[in-house]
Amino acid sequence: MLTTLFVMLAGVGAGSLGAMLGLGGGIFLVPLLNIVLGIPIDKAMAISLVTVIATSNFVSLSSAGRKYANARLAMVLQVAAAVGALSGLWILNYVDERARELIFAGTALLVAIVMIARLNARNVLDPSVTDVGLLGGRVEDPDTGRLVAYRLKRLPFGLSVTFVAGIISSLAGVGGGVLVVPALNSWCGIPMRVAAATSAVILGVTAMPAVIDYYLRGHLTMPALAAAAVLGVLAGSRAGFWISSRVSVRALKILMAVILAGVAAEYFFFK
């Protein structure tokens, strides 16, 4: 009973960060379930992937999430992520596990540095701009309370990063949100909150076949814990959106950079 309650609380934390920053939450939930509660890594990853889908569903369907998520951009990037995930399954046979972890850690650290370097950069255009392109949009900016426009830049780069994120999600067993959100925000001209919501939508679709795979391999065997984590995540996602609309983009970027640096340190020194 206490374990279930603990998992539910952990789910609240993962859901909040998932909705705020577009991360799947696996990066926090898996070590917590595995190291703190002693749940085997495969079972922990299965529960974590189910919670990724829960966050994604909440973002895709709630009015708060739909306000920010760009469905068209999500669909275009999703194709690259899915192809990347399939390629990752093939690459898995040829790359050593430690090498994969170091590649992931190095990338996360690089992205954290870029994020901090571009802390004050805002990807918003004047609201009077009429042409936002096929993959751009308009969204209310809680920092200023005004409607702002944004336009997608460097689509091939965005597709490449999402493709790599798909590969990494297969290789390292984590969602690609840690790469997709900073890349969309720092290089592709997408505002932070839009990048986070769009990434959450992408991650849910990528996680779906993985959850089925884990179930078929007999790793999704703790339904009560999975249910507790999902309920926690759904509550946390709501809280995450509430917090996200009340803190500045600068604060969100700093939080993201700190998390990325922490993830890099975990893979460099503690694995």
């Binding site: 009973m1 279930t4 189910v50 889908i53 829960a54 994604s56 569903n57 909440f58 895709s60 369907l61 469905a71 068209r72 999500a74 669909m75 275009v76 999703q78 194709v79 899915a82 192809v83 995930a85 399939l86 096929l134 939508v201 849910g204 679709v205 996680a207 779906m208 076949p209 959850v211 089925i212 795979d213 078929l216 391999r217 999704l220 339904p223 009560a224 999975a226 249910a227 507790a228 999902v230 309920l231 759904l234």
Partner: protein, 108 residues
């Protein structure tokens, strides 16, 4: 009925499905702790039903995007959504086939 109307209805249904998921999981979890014996099987079934519905929602959401975009020209985004759906179906079918799930069913 236009594809946009169908997409809007599908999306409303998905919102209800997400609420149903929470209800199934919540009630199942409460029952899991309060009851024992054969009734616990009902609690387990409710939790599995909730999880199955949860996992199905992203695919149905892609269908909603596909229907939404079908009415716009050019249909590039509709084709992107169709591509995502195809990749989803192919990768899921491949995983099920590789796991020998159907072979097990045939043996049974």
């Amino acid at each position: 009925m236009s594809t946009i109307t169908i997409a809007a209805r599908l999306r409303s249904s998905l919102r209800i499905a997400l609420a149903a998921t929470s209800a199934c999981l919540g009630m199942g979890l409460v029952m899991w702790f309060l009851v024992s014996g054969p009734a616990q099987a009902v609690a387990t079934a409710m939790i599995w039903a909730g999880l199955a519905l949860l996992v199905l929602i992203p695919a149905l959401n892609v269908v909603a995007v596909l229907l939404d975009e079908w009415s716009t020209r050019p249909r590039a985004f509709a084709w992107a959504a169709a591509g995502v759906l195809l990749l989803l179906v192919v990768s899921t079918a491949y995983k099920i086939w590789k796991s020998g799930f159907f072979l097990g069913a045939v043996r049974l």
